[in-house]
């Protein structure tokens, strides 16, 4: 793995305490989970026993358990309990590779440069935000980002400033959004969207509808360009 920077994985809001979800970065599979104390973890999404996805499993307290045979892992990724062998002292070698995580700007970020090695500085993002939503689309991440300025918000044309290929500032009239850009795989991407300041439901709903239209537009462009490639 050489994903040696911070990659956005989800909105913090969407990984509640005691829950897990699968995700991918450039095709690599990870499980993101939050223990009952509120700490976030990102690991390889694979149980060492039978290769089952850990994201299909369940969180209890500060352990995550595999859905398949219930093997339980602590926050260090160490298997602590095997239900079929309750008296067994589990060997230290049964361990799931885990990666650094931080939360910034209302998003969960993962850095995949190997356990306990140094991590780059955290993304510099404001903390006074309202989570909007994540939007997932079947299109490459650069296409999704390029589409943002083209999908109008009512009469307003979005003003877009990419700070990096993973952090994009979007201005929609008097509303400012930040998008965390996730390149899920070759033709799949997600935007994790937060709004600056405090917004209520009446403000969030039109923004969410705009994000849905952005998804439709981006996928239509991706589909049209795929058709053109085949024709060429």
């Amino acid at each position: 793995m050489s994903l040696q920077d911070w990659y956005p994985l989800a909105l913090s809001r969407d990984i509640a305490a005691g829950t897990s979800a699968g995700t991918r970065v450039l095709g690599e599979e990870f499980v993101v989970w939050r223990d009952s104390k509120g700490a976030v973890h990102a690991w390889d999404d694979r149980c060492p026993h039978r290769g089952m996805k850990m994201s299909f499993g369940f969180v209890r307290g500060d352990h995550i358990a595999c859905l398949y045979h219930g093997w339980q892992y602590d926050t260090a990724g160490q298997c602590q309990y095997i239900p079929a062998h309750p008296d067994l002292e589990v060997p230290q070698t049964i361990k799931i590779p885990r990666f650094a995580t931080i939360e910034a700007g209302g998003m969960i970020w993962g850095c995949f440069n190997g356990e306990d090695s140094a991590t780059p500085p955290a993304p510099d993002l404001p903390s006074e935000i309202t989570p909007l939503r994540s939007i997932f689309a079947d299109c490459p991440a650069p296409l999704m980002v390029a589409q943002i300025a083209k999908t109008t918000f009512g009469e307003t044309t979005p003003d877009v400033a990419a700070k990096t290929d993973r952090i994009v500032d979007i201005t929609l009239g008097d509303i400012k959004l930040i998008a965390g850009v996730q390149a899920i795989a070759d033709g799949e991407s997600a935007l994790h969207l937060v709004a600056l300041g405090e917004l209520d439901a009446s403000k969030l709903k039109p923004l969410s509808l705009w994000a849905e239209q952005l998804r439709r537009d981006a996928e239509a462009v991706a589909k049209a360009s795929a058709t053109t490639e085949i024709a060429a």
Binding site: T19, F136, A201, L204, S208
Partner: protein, 210 residues
């Protein structure tokens, strides 16, 4: 009223909807197991005398015979839920419940077919069915995203209705036809709320926890 009889196949999500609803309103049916795979018993003359297409579930009580899960859910809501929690009377909520019941039987039926094709060798274009099922799940996720903005945890409002019961299984079972839950954060939150309902029960492929 005498105890109803439910013609049931445990692996069929439409049968599960009815079992789940019965459990939530605290009633029971006499279960008659129909051997769909491999027996194809749902296509037998005895079953088709009640449900002409052979679709399950079928509910029978005295002279009443009902098929189509959404109709049976509605009947259960009127017959066994005196407080009308699962099918409220007020016109707006009633309309929303009906809208999502129709959605469940139409748009989301692609998910039922996708699962039957993937798991039980039913004929069908799995890619087209999966695409249609994903589109339906996206519409559901978008809706629940908006509901959550308003602090509402269920499809038609603050409390669960038969719309949630009708929509739940296809999302919970979507990995059976290779659609993961990764891209549906609002549905993950909703599914946790459904799992916490009093009377929640499981079926093969839908564990209690998540």
């Amino acid at each position: 009223m005498s105890t109803p009889t439910l013609y049931n196949y445990d692996l069929d999500e439409n049968c599960y909807k009815v079992r789940l609803m019965m459990s939530c309103v605290g009633t029971e049916a006499k279960l008659v197991a129909v051997d769909v795979v491999p027996g194809r018993e749902h296509l037998s003359p005895a079953i088709r005398a009640m449900s002409p297409s052979g679709s399950l579930p079928i509910l029978k009580q005295d002279d009443l015979v009902l098929y189509e899960a959404e109709a049976i859910l509605s009947w259960l809501a009127r017959a066994y839920d005196p407080d009308r929690r699962f099918l409220p009377d007020d016109p707006d909520t009633f309309g929303k419940v009906m809208m999502w019941l129709t959605f469940s039987a139409r748009e989301l039926d692609a998910a039922v077919d996708a699962r039957a094709t993937a798991m039980m060798d039913a004929p069908g274009d799995i890619d087209a069915l999966r695409d249609a099922a994903r589109e339906a799940l996206r519409i559901m996720d978008d809706h629940m995203t908006h509901q959550h903005f308003d602090g509402l945890e269920f499809f038609a409002g603050a409390t669960a209705t038969i719309a949630d019961i009708a929509l739940f299984p296809s999302f919970a079972l979507s990995r059976d036809f290779n659609i993961d839950h990764d891209a549906f954060p609002a549905l993950r939150r909703w599914a946790r709320a459904v799992r916490k309902l009093d009377g929640f029960i499981t079926m093969p492929g839908i564990p209690e926890y998540h």
